[in-house]
Amino acid sequence: MPQLTTRLEWLGVLFGVELADRCRNLSALLAEIEGVGTQSEDELVAGLRAVGRELHSLKGAAQADGASSIEHVAHAAEGAVLALLGAVSGSAKRPDEAWFDALWAAIDTVKILHAEPATDTSQLIAALVALTPEPLAAEPTPIASARARSKPTPSALPPARERTEQNSVRVSLEKLDTLLTESGELSVTHLRIAERLTEVRELQRQLERLQREWRKSRPVRARLRRGQVQSASRDAETLLGMAERSEQEVQSVLQRTRVLVGDLAQNISQLGAVAGAIGEEVIAIRLLPAGTIFSPLERLVRDVSRQTGKDARLVLSGTETDLDRRILDELRDPLMHMVRNTIDHGIEAPQDRLLAGKTAHGTLRISAVPRGDRVQIVVEDDGRGLDVEAIRDTAVRRNLLSAAQAGLLDTPSLIELIFHPGFSTRAGVSELSGRGVGMDVVREHVNRLGGDISVRTSPGVGTCFTVAVPLTLATTRVLLVEDAGQTFAIPSSSIERTGRTRFADVQRVEGRRALKIDGRMLPLVELADVLQRRAPDPSAADTWRSFFVLPQGERAVAVLADRLIDETELVVKALGAPLTRVRHVTGAAILGTGVVVVILNPTDLIKSALRNLESVQRLSPLDDVVPGPQTEPPRRRVLVVDDSVMTRTLERSILEAAGYVVVVAGDGAQALDVLNENPVDVIVSDIEMPRMDGFELTAAVRHDERWRNLPIVLVTSLDSPEHIERGAAAGADAYIVKGRFDQDDLVQTIGRLL
């Protein structure tokens, strides 16, 4: 945003912002009055008064800003509103269509006037004046006397709306991003300070060792002293004295160090709490209510209904559901498109609806519901539903499929076709929605946000679109992957599956390297080759390596890397000039430890991978080696507990490959339930989990007679002595640190315990 150097410029910006607000409010208010036909007179009066007040305030603001054309329009519109409010307070004339048209036109014109102040408004003003029986003053009178004329009385409109407006401030998105960055740095610094604590603890241990040494020397010193009495050596006396003083010194330093460690630990813990709270608040600040993009739809529904000769009513719910403002921005256009589409194609003409036994007006329900870390936006109508046959015909007509293929598709697959680029079932191109640039673009917008869209339909009954988007874009869930000495991050939402494999399991199909995963044969590539990095020499045929699967429509690619580290949430940062666009890279992020990782672009990776299947053979010449003799693994049962699906799947694949039977649970409580039903031989559990964490689970398991001796392995990303001690105190048998563990560690550790 350019620096606003003059006060005038700043005021101009403020006016523009206020203008937008007032127009939004006016639209909502007008839609309310117009929409529900069966309003009581009280409601009508309240609504009209609210509209009048908004226009009045707009007039004042325009006057202060010197925008006289806007001022005049607002004045005339206010007159038209006042004309309806009867002389007897509490009564009002119901507005007719001409009145609504003029008022809507006034709102539109005011917006245009802000950009083009010279626009001709004479026709509009004439129309507004025509709605006012008694002649108004040609020039708007100064605000003071106008206020005296129309004394605004308290209305039934919820005062809460005005109050929240006064209690809020506008902040630029840039400032919020900066705040987010600083908050991230705060967290990183906190972690660094926590490391210092570990070092101080080391010092404390050193001092304790020193103290023990001195204690050991006491008997020697005592003997020397006794001998001293007889020989009276000055040197011995001096040395003994120094020894005494030194031991006391060590004691004193050790004491102070202990106190320091205690205080430091407490301060760091407090710092961590504050840093965490700030981080959460900053992310929350980016949230805005869904109503921000829902409200303008009211106007749209009205306009499109008019244009198409349909009668469609909008019902909104969940308008107060919060979403990241970037997400709201991205969804604005797709939502408008879906609404247009629905009214144009979905809702039948009033006569047809009546013939079908439905109400003459169609209902469009739009709602926003939070679901965990996502928000579900549903666009539902009671129209004619999607015409599956028409979809099939269009697909064939547009050569998307052959007639034979189209004949084989089941209904859900046919419905998926509407998301295909260039698809539209309308024969002609209607101005509104027939261009066929519709649902594929909607899906693209949604996917860009890391969300997905699905549709259900029932012929003659209606259609329902469900859009699921993440709650916040500030952070993204990624999978950390290590390959040839560097760590990369890949957005979790783009990964279909992960797993491990050995060269022995890689096959050749159509001359390409492939891997059989979940019954599908997928092409296999090296991450290092796709990224054009130098890779170290090929490793032995029985080395385990990890892969992740990137899907693209029906196809998918398996990408090989050295190992998968963990799943985590990161704040994504753009790279910036001169790196405007780098292949295979979307941005970078700073890990909690302060290390910078590159975030890879899954779409680019897939494109390159599919093109690059003839990559350098890292696996040869060991490719065709006959697999070594398989030792018979013990068929023991393992319970894997972790709240991350990715981690559970990863650990499961490691353990299953080693020959174990695996059952899973999402948190401690669930794990206990599973234990009750299924006998297991060992538990592998994460520590940070909702409802019941790893320590509590361990304690609970030990408490029970049946499982007192059941081996428990705690796996976590944190490496701190306290956790290890806590784990041991609770009764765990082993402790593995995720970031560092070689995946063989897990198998070996379990092997040792069984």
């Binding site: 790279l575 790196l579 405007t580």
Partner: protein
């Protein structure tokens, strides 16, 4: 110590003469003077205008970025912001200086303050700040646009705006 009292007429002449002399020296110093940071690349000295720089820092722990040309050493975090580190020697075509790799120990970085750039130039050593008189510059030996000239002690003055202008080092690739 008190100054000798002067005859006002004499004083007036002296004052006039002093003013004229002052004008002369001012004229010879009127040539433009700029403040530069001098750094070493290999065995040569280079200068860049300090007004083009945001800061001078140390960088270690550089993360390499795949699919970038060799003059892009990698990225680092500067107080939470991602900054791209470029090899100045490679950018101006110096082959004598050893190529900076991301494995190098802490290297000095000149953080650029040019509009729209979030990058820094890695050099071998930062030697200090100097004031350079533009009229004492000899023409550059290579005749390249971004080399404005050679200073008195063989320091080459680089024009960073020219170097980055035209987006020569901009990377914008699609797959």
């Amino acid at each position: 110590m008190t100054l000798p009292v002067c005859d006002p007429a004499v004083e007036a002449v002296l004052k006039l003469r002093a003013e004229q002399l002052a004008k002369l020296t001012a004229a010879s110093d009127a040539s433009e003077e700029i403040e530069v940071i001098v750094c070493r690349l290999g065995t040569e000295h280079y200068a860049v205008e300090s007004r083009h720089l945001r800061a001078v820092q140390w960088a270690n722990g550089i993360t390499p970025v795949p699919c970038t040309p060799s003059y892009v050493i990698g990225i680092v975090s500067v107080r939470g912001e991602i900054v791209t580190l470029l090899d100045l020697a490679a950018m101006i075509g110096l082959t004598s200086a050893p190529a900076a790799t991301s494995n190098s120990l802490a290297r000095p970085v000149l953080l650029l303050g040019l509009a729209g750039q979030r990058s820094g130039l890695v050099v071998d050593e930062v030697l200090g700040v100097q004031r350079l008189k533009l009229d004492r510059l000899q023409p550059s030996l290579s005749g390249r646009e971004f080399a404005r000239g050679v200073g008195p002690d063989n320091t080459v003055l680089l024009d960073l705006e020219h170097l980055f202008g035209g987006g020569r080092f901009n990377i914008s690739d699609e797959v």
